[in-house]
C-alpha cells in the first residue's frame, strides 16, 4: 500500500509543479492545491497505514492492545487542510480580482515592469492622494479580503 501511495504522492507533486509553471493563474492555483494535497498525503503515509484499528486504549491499560495507526499525523493533516482551505479561498478571490483588473488570466499580460519612466508608481501615488481627497467613496465588495 505504501508503494501505491508513494507513486500517487509523486504524481501529485509532478502535476502540481507542472501546473505551477503554466502561464495561466487559474492553473497555478490548481497546482498549489495539488502541492498542498501531496504534502498532506505524504504526512498521512508517514503516520503508518493500518486498517480498521482505531487507537483506543482499553479502560484498564495504558497502551493500545494492538498496533494502531498514529493519530497525530491525521490531526496535523486536518489542520493543514483547514489552513489550505483558507488560503485557497483567498487565492480564488485574488485571481478573480486580478481577472477583473487585468482582463486576462495570462501572467505575461500582467507584467508592468517596463512601462517607461515611473508611470506605474507615479500613477499609484497620485491615485492614492485622490482617493484620500474623495473620502467616503464606495468601498463595498472588499469585505471578502478580510
Amino acid at each position: 500500500m505504501e508503494a501505491v501511495l508513494a507513486v500517487v504522492i509523486g504524481g501529485l507533486y509532478a502535476a502540481g509543479m507542472y501546473l505551477m509553471v503554466r502561464r495561466s493563474i487559474v492553473k497555478m492555483i490548481f497546482g498549489l492545491a495539488l502541492l498542498g494535497n501531496a504534502a498532506n498525503l505524504l504526512i498521512f503515509t508517514v503516520g503508518r497505514l493500518v486498517r480498521g484499528r482505531p487507537p483506543h486504549i482499553p479502560a484498564d491499560g495504558v497502551l493500545p492492545s494492538i498496533p494502531t495507526a498514529d493519530p497525530v499525523p491525521q490531526a496535523l493533516i486536518l489542520t493543514a487542510i483547514v489552513i489550505g482551505f483558507g488560503v485557497q479561498a483567498f487565492a480564488l478571490v485574488l485571481i478573480k480580482r486580478v481577472y477583473q483588473t487585468v482582463g486576462s488570466d495570462d501572467q505575461d499580460e500582467m507584467v508592468t515592469e517596463n512601462q517607461g519612466q515611473g508611470s506605474g508608481v507615479k500613477g499609484q501615488e497620485s491615485q492614492r492622494q485622490e482617493q484620500e481627497q474623495g473620502q467616503g467613496s464606495g468601498v463595498k465588495g472588499q469585505g471578502g479580503e478580510a
Binding site: V82, G86, L92, V93, K96, G143, G144
Partner: protein, 136 residues
Amino acid sequence: MHSIILATAIRLLLPLMLLFSLFLLLRGHNEPGGGFVGGLVVAAAFALYTLAHGAHEGRRMLRIDPLRLVAIGLLIALCSGLLPLLAGLPFLTGLWSSLPAPVIGHAGTPLLFDLGVYLLVAGMALLIIFTLMEES
C-alpha cells in the same frame, strides 16, 4: 437561476440543518463532531438559501453581518482561553464544571471554545460565499 424545488426544499432544510449543526456542536467535545463541522453545516444551510434566493436575501436571512459573527466567535474563543489565566493556570487550559449538565454532559471551557469556533467558521465561510456571489 431560480429553482422552485430548491426554494421549497430549503424552507424545510434550513431549520433542520441549523438544528443538526447545534447537535454536532454539543456532541463535539468527546465524540465526533465539534465547532468546525457545525459551523460548516450552518454555512452550508445559508449557502443553499443564498443559491435559491440570491445573496441579498441570504444576508437578510442571516440578520447579522458575517464579519460580526467572525469577531464574536473569536472573542468567545479568546475568553475561553483567558478564563484559566484568571485561575492562575496556563492559557487555554480546560476548566470543567463538576456538575453534570443535561444534554451536553460535563460543561467546560472547551465547549465555550468550540462555540467560538462554530461562530467563526460559519461567519468566515459565509463571508467568502456572500462576497463571491455578490460579485458575480
